[in-house]
Amino acid sequence: MSSLNKNTLIKSLLFYLPLFLLFLSVLNEIDFNYLKIEYFSFNFAHILIFYWTLKNPRYLNYGSIFLAGIVNDVVISMPIGLSSFCYLLICAVTAYLRNITIKPNFINDWISFLFTILLVNSIQVISLDIIFLTEVNYMRYLINSGFTFILYPVFVFLFNILEKKIAIQKND
């Protein structure tokens, strides 16, 4: 009986891990800035949302993604709602990709990811610069997108392991 309860607990914990990671990343802004590497930054939330909503949107529901965007805006002091809009655009792209893909392929996903982050960051930069009249460092955004794109396979590898574990727990 206790083993059954333990299994259910682990199953729930693993299932909600992507959501937990998303809120952790927006509240903490995981940026490794203490390493003091000039220009190094990447958007962990973009990788996380793209991967998990593409894989299966059950792990990250859209309402939570919307809330995470609001939290992100408050933490990094952007106009409230902008990150939510960008995160939901990523979800829209992944939903479209899911609908048109018959056999998933990593390279296709990676290229789609590049297109998505460039689109999302362009919308963010343009709206900040033109609508909200905030001076933005375009180069920083570009470098951020570059590192996010490069680091995508590393996180895919880690998330695949996690996804397998969740699937095993689900089958148990």
Partner: protein, 285 residues
């Protein structure tokens, strides 16, 4: 051709409108909701402001708690580096201390003289200090700012100066009930009036989004004088926000791209406690 267009439309419609996989809201509803939030956020209605303050308070405190492990690693990293350079730093400090002791004697005299001269022209500078802890100091590529644990409850107001030891760090841009956000001098949107000494030239110090600032809107002759002097940047007091004479940084001439960088005296990545200061400059006139 028509069939492929139909497929595209079906895929798009399905992506935006379908409420699959236990989703409570469709994607389109949430996208519209975020657009509504963006539009409402840009209005200055009282109700929206109160909601914003409430949301900020909760999220800032949560962010502080969530950031504790990362901050611990940050502190550990700094401590290890300090231990490694302990002896070299001690030797440097010893030499610097000797020089500073010599300078202090003449400075004490200048301070007394300055106070007497201010009394003669009936000018007084009074300041109200509030000490604050830095709750969140996320070095994001978008904004260089810090969140402090003092707000309107402690009489913090927009525009107040943020000082680390005696060095200017930034100014308050957002005030909530028990917290506030300060824009750092290194942010792209930060612009403050400064005085370059000893060449006595007024200028504007702009942030760059990096860990240094640049000098803007000044006389061309300052470039010629730059090679000869070691230039210190102080606040000029123009605009009335900051007291004149607050040290900000020193100019480092960069020969490679001809941009003169202002190296800030305070390390913005290591701020734990800061002083929020409001200055009242009184004049006999």
């Amino acid at each position: 051709m028509a069939s492929s267009r139909d497929d595209f439309v079906i895929a798009i419609r399905s992506a935006f409108l379908k409420k699959s996989y236990q989703q409570k809201f469709s994607l389109l509803t949430l996208i519209f909701l975020s657009l509504v939030v963006i539009i409402l956020g840009s209005f200055n209605f009282k109700a929206i402001q109160y909601i914003k303050i409430g949301v900020n308070e909760v999220i800032y405190r949560s962010s502080f708690i969530v950031s504790i492990p990362e901050n611990y690693f940050n502190d550990l990293n700094i401590k290890i580096k300090e231990h490694l350079s302990f002896y070299d730093q001690y030797k440097k400090n010893e030499i610097e201390l000797k020089k500073l002791k010599e300078k202090k004697l003449s400075n004490d005299f200048l301070i007394l003289e300055n106070n007497k001269l201010r009394e003669l022209i009936n000018e007084t500078i009074q300041s109200k200090d509030v000490y604050a802890k830095v709750l969140v100091d996320k070095d994001s590529p978008y904004l260089k700012s810090i969140v402090l644990n003092k707000g309107s409850k402690d009489n913090v107001k927009i525009g107040m100066a943020i000082v680390d030891k005696s060095y200017l760090v930034g100014k308050i841009i957002e005030v909530n009930y028990t917290s506030s956000r300060a824009l750092l001098l290194s942010d792209l949107n930060s612009k403050i009036p400064v005085l370059l000494e000893p060449i006595d030239i007024h200028a504007v110090l702009s942030g760059t989004g990096k860990n240094y600032g640049v000098i803007e809107y000044t006389k061309d002759e300052y470039k010629q004088k730059l090679n000869n002097d070691k230039i210190i940047v102080y606040t000029s007091g123009y605009g009335g926000l900051f007291k004149p004479g607050l040290p900000v940084g020193k100019i480092i001439t960069n020969n490679l791209n001809k941009d003169d960088e202002v190296n800030f005296f305070s390390d913005f990545r290591q701020l734990d406690y800061v002083k929020i200061v409001a200055y009242e400059i009184g004049s006999g006139n």
